[in-house]
């Protein structure tokens, strides 16, 4: 038996030899050490309680509202500030976070979020300006948007960018609408099919269907790439666009991407690039050189704006010369009086594709992303791609000692994909393995995606992990893998044992949805 740095026994080499005895009896309060059992705000708060001191308005101030006045109780409990702070701090401690440990969610790019960017976004000159102030009073904001656009265009080798889409899927919608606009303008409005590879993100077919397109899948080759022959077969005068992620969701670069673009353009269709994985190639490859016509860039992936438990993101879309005229409002020009935000078409025409959202997009994310770009520079961004790819390949190599890579031949890009062939016969599934990782202090990798690989485990370490952290992670995974193969099934089937909660009943949640708190019914008085 060996000890870790705080003197706890670790026994990777003995995995499977000893029975599992880590799951101890429950405590008397439900709390466990630092982990508090925390009720809902609705069970804690008071109807008359408030953590905000406000003066009372003058009597009769709402008399003018008549019947519009809200008389019925609303149902919003309040708490004092110390109680509120404690409540949310306690909740926060039930979350895994990139600041805590490696967070290897493939396709999600959980990299370090520099705190300088948070500070910059909170400068009153950015955070406390109104979107509809006179433009002369927000020249710095417009300049920042213009600079961000310049960086995005330069890094992708594309001539135009629409900044306003609010997330990746919103960017996809923007890109496909530009494509549709271009087709309609060219008398090609009859093109109603979008091709996506079987390995595509779910947002690709969802977006295409949203735009009224029929989605057809392109087959994949045994080495995890777009099947060119199948693509050529499916392209035709009915195809509006193809949507291809590159590097793809198997973590592989589409070797034939230039040929894919050529075939697509030859068939009169446009090439939509899903830029979710741009972080693997930033500074080394420009999508414009690959023949891409439109591509969204997730600022919350490649350019490190925080994921925040599910958002907000930002999904600017770079556009080719052919698609640039079909960009949505607003956009920025540089005139004699400085920067100008164009919010309406010059002729005043209400074109169908006017605006993706109210105002001008995710300014708070632009500031963070731009700070990230300035910090890294052209040299640092290239290093980002190189280290991201190096880290992924390192894990792929090391983990292959026990696990089976889905595509063993050749290097991967920024993420390493494994299948579950190596778990065959162990009785342990990908899900079980993921849950056991939680007990070892790591967030699981992306599971069961892409759909084309059985029991997929997609591991993306990102460039902000040190070699020491990668080794710590690999050590834990290899130990777990050995345990699975040694028949220590209980370690996996019951996992997690050490998380704030054990495995949750998702079937129950879906069968009887309880989506809001409701006051418990008063207990019936026993008949006396």
């Amino acid at each position: 038996m060996t000890m870790n740095t705080v003197g706890r026994p670790t026994r990777p080499e003995a995995a499977g030899d000893e029975p599992l005895n880590d799951y101890v009896h429950p405590t008397l309060t439900g709390a466990r050490g630092l982990l508090q059992d925390e009720a809902l705000i609705f069970e804690l708060g008071g109807w008359d309680k408030s953590g905000v001191d406000l003066p009372e308005a003058e009597a009769g101030v709402a008399d003018d509202l008549g019947d519009l006045f809200r008389t019925a109780p609303i149902g919003l409990p309040g708490l004092s500030e110390p109680e509120t702070v404690r409540h949310y701090v306690r909740l926060s401690q039930k979350n895994h976070a990139i600041d805590l440990a490696l967070y290897p969610l493939g396709s999600c790019t959980m990299k370090h979020n520099p705190r300088l960017n948070e500070k910059m976004a909170r400068l009153p000159g950015f955070s406390d300006i109104h979107p509809l102030q006179p433009q002369s009073s927000v020249q710095g904001a417009l300049k920042l948007m213009d600079r961000l656009a310049h960086w995005l265009k330069t890094l992708t080798g594309m001539p135009a960018v629409a900044l306003s889409p609010k997330a990746g899927a919103h960017g996809e919608l923007c890109g496909l609408l530009a494509i549709r606009g271009a087709h309609e303008a060219n008398g090609q409005g009859h093109r109603k099919t979008v091709l996506t590879p079987t390995s595509a993100h779910g947002t690709n077919p969802a977006t295409a269907a949203f735009c009224g397109y029929t989605v057809e899948e392109i087959a994949q080759t045994p080495d995890g790439r777009v099947d060119l022959a199948d693509l050529a077969k499916k392209l035709g005068p009915h195809v509006a666009a193809i949507m291809v992620t590159n590097p793809n969701t198997c973590g592989l670069f589409e070797r034939d991407v230039i040929e894919i673009a050529r075939l697509t353009h030859e068939a009169g269709a446009y090439f939509y690039g899903d830029g979710a994985n741009f972080n693997a190639i930033v500074g080394r490859v420009r999508p414009g050189d690959l023949g891409v016509d439109a591509m969204h860039i997730n600022l919350h992936k490649t350019f490190s704006t925080p994921h925040g438990g599910g958002g907000p993101g930002a999904g600017p879309v770079v556009l080719s010369e052919a698609l640039a005229p079909f960009a949505p409002l607003p956009w920025i020009t540089h005139g004699e009086d400085g920067f100008e935000l164009i919010e309406h078409r010059e002729d005043g025409a209400q074109t169908a594709f006017g605006r993706m959202c109210a105002f001008h997009g995710q300014m708070g994310m632009y500031v963070r992303a731009y700070a990230y770009m300035l910090s890294h520079g052209a040299d640092g961004l290239r290093q980002v791609a190189e280290d991201a790819v190096l880290n992924a390949n390192y894990l792929k190599t090391v983990l292959s000692a026990e696990m089976s890579p889905a595509f063993p031949d050749g290097p991967c890009m920024h993420e390493a994909l494994f299948d579950d062939a190596w778990l065959e016969g162990t009785g342990v599934t990908t899900l079980d393995f993921a849950k056991a990782m939680i007990d070892e202090g790591f967030h699981p990798m992306t599971m069961y995606f892409p759909l084309v690989v059985h029991g997929a485990m997609l591991i993306e370490p990102t460039e902000t992990e040190s070699k020491a952290e990668l080794d710590r992670f690999a050590h834990a995974l290899l130990a777990l893998a050995k345990a699975a193969k040694a028949g220590d099934v209980e370690r996996f089937k019951g996992a997690p044992y050490h998380a704030p909660l054990r495995r949750l009943d998702e079937t129950l949640a879906a069968r009887k949805p309880r989506l809001r708190w409701t006051a418990p019914e008063a207990p019936k008085m026993a008949a006396e």
């Binding site: 009372e56 997330a167 919608l173 070797r255 958002g311 907000p312 605006r355 190096l390």
Partner: protein, 448 residues
């Protein structure tokens, strides 16, 4: 580079382990024609101090709201956000976590979402709410799509007081899916006119209250008319603080509420990120867009929360999904939830009353200026004012005099023929002195 932990020795070591001779070996799949040697034509890396300086200089070129008397609204409102809100949302565990797909180690985010959904449902007077949308405008557009799915009809009527940006956002999405949109011309107080436009082909009417001119309307009759025709009523709210004072959309018969939640917990941020609130009736739940958080139990029977009903969503349902939305506004929703928990019902009602009180003072002050006329008949915290000169000119001149007086309607819709209408909003942040000096400054610049 301060954000990159690998040392040159690490890199060499790791390449050796992989069996590669150089980093270029790992990029071997990139076609030769697309491989770039050297750096792109952009500046090189900078230290934290240099970046701070550059961005601070850009920030200093903007006139922040704190520096001027401030009356801008029209869909984005400047409220006081308690300091603890911003502190809490910056905790690593909230800020740097992903969508809670592994519920055992994401109970913090999930419980917050459950609280958020409950608060939004209560505030809007609806039965269920989702875990947020990008913003109010995209929530409204998703609402229209949902109404089409529910009713299997293909047309939406947009009321005369709907924020033009919202109308345009709805038109964009409607065009994408091939829906018909009837957009009624802008008017200060003509919500009831939509009733005569509800035909048998109409999936929904979209009515904003308070509307973009600040007019608050009881939409009960519109709801009745819509329901009688088999259509849904979508109520849009761009200033959710109003719901601390005004009857909720749910009480007035709304089927879907699409609201901008920015006012609670979130700053102006030049228009984003904001947080879209989306609430509806339970019977329409399975047609709703976006993530939903639900209650369940763990293997030991303890209460916990998970993302649920995801068979509606793109990562499961792909081209049959109810929406393509994935990333939403999680952190802004957290800010909303914390601020709302601090306010509580008592605080929210008081806050709303203060907002309204300030607007009444503003309306009285503006009405008293010769040549100006308040157009909004019933308002919460925002009014439309007729100006004797083009409103855009007045706004610009006053901005040059360090006063941000509001938003000209022409900024939102230059073709509406409302060049002499100015939108002005107040909140608890507005000071009595701001309103007192306003007439004097306006008269002075008009005399010049």
């Amino acid at each position: 580079m301060r954000y990159l932990p690998l040392t040159p020795e690490d890199r060499a070591d790791m390449l050796r382990t992989i069996g590669a001779t150089s980093i270029d070996d790992l990029f071997i799949d990139v076609p030769e024609a697309a491989r770039r040697t050297g750096f792109v034509d952009l500046p090189l890396a900078q230290g934290e101090l240099e970046v701070d300086r550059e961005l601070s200089a850009l920030a200093a070129m903007n006139r922040s709201a704190v520096a001027s008397p401030f009356f801008c609204g029209a869909g984005a409102y400047r409220h006081h956000v308690p300091a603890s809100v911003d502190h809490l949302i910056q905790r690593s565990e909230f800020l740097t976590s992903y969508t809670p797909y592994q519920p055992e180690i994401a109970q913090g985010t999930l419980q917050v979402l459950f609280e958020f959904q409950t608060q939004v449902a209560a505030l809007t007077g609806m039965e269920v709410a989702n875990a947020s949308m990008y913003d109010g405008s995209t929530a409204a557009a998703e609402g229209v799509m949902m109404a089409a799915r529910v009713t299997r009809r293909n047309k939406a009527v947009l009321s005369p007081g709907l924020h033009p940006h919202y109308a345009e956002t709805i038109q964009t999405l409607a065009h994408a899916v091939g829906m018909d949109i009837e957009r009624m011309p802008l008017a200060v107080d003509a919500e009831a006119d939509v009733i005569s436009h509800i035909g048998p082909d109409v999936a929904c009417v979209v009515v904003q209250t308070p509307n973009v001119f600040g007019t608050a309307t009881d939409v009960t009759k519109i709801a009745d008319a819509a329901h009688a025709a088999g259509a849904l009523l979508i109520v849009v709210v761009t200033e959710v603080v109003s719901l601390g004072l005004l009857k909720s959309p749910g009480e007035m018969g709304a089927d879907i509420v699409a609201a901008e939640g920015q006012s609670i917990g979130n700053g102006l941020n030049f228009g984003g990120p904001y947080v879209g609130l989306f609430a509806t009736r339970e019977k329409y739940l399975r047609q709703a867009p976006g993530r939903l958080c639900g209650e369940t139990v763990d293997a030991d029977g303890r209460r916990g929360f998970v993302l649920t009903l995801s068979t509606r969503e793109q990562h499961i349902r792909r081209d049959k999904a109810t929406s393509n939305i994935c990333t939403n506004s999680g952190l802004c929703a957290l800010a909303f939830t914390i601020h709302m928990s601090l306010l509580g019902e008592a605080g929210l009602r008081r806050l709303a009353a203060l907002n309204h009180q300030m607007a009444r003072k503003l309306a009285a002050a503006m009405d008293a200026i010769p040549g100006f006329e308040v157009l909004t008949p019933r308002f919460f915290n925002e009014i439309a004012v007729r100006t004797p000169v083009p409103a855009a000119d007045l706004v610009q001149t006053l901005a040059d005099n360090n006063l941000l007086v509001g938003v000209p309607v022409s900024r939102l819709d230059p073709m509406a023929g409302m060049g002499d209408v100015l939108l002005m909003a107040t909140t608890e942040v507005t000071r009595d002195v701001d309103i007192q000096i306003l007439p004097r400054i306006i008269k002075r610049v008009l005399d010049q």
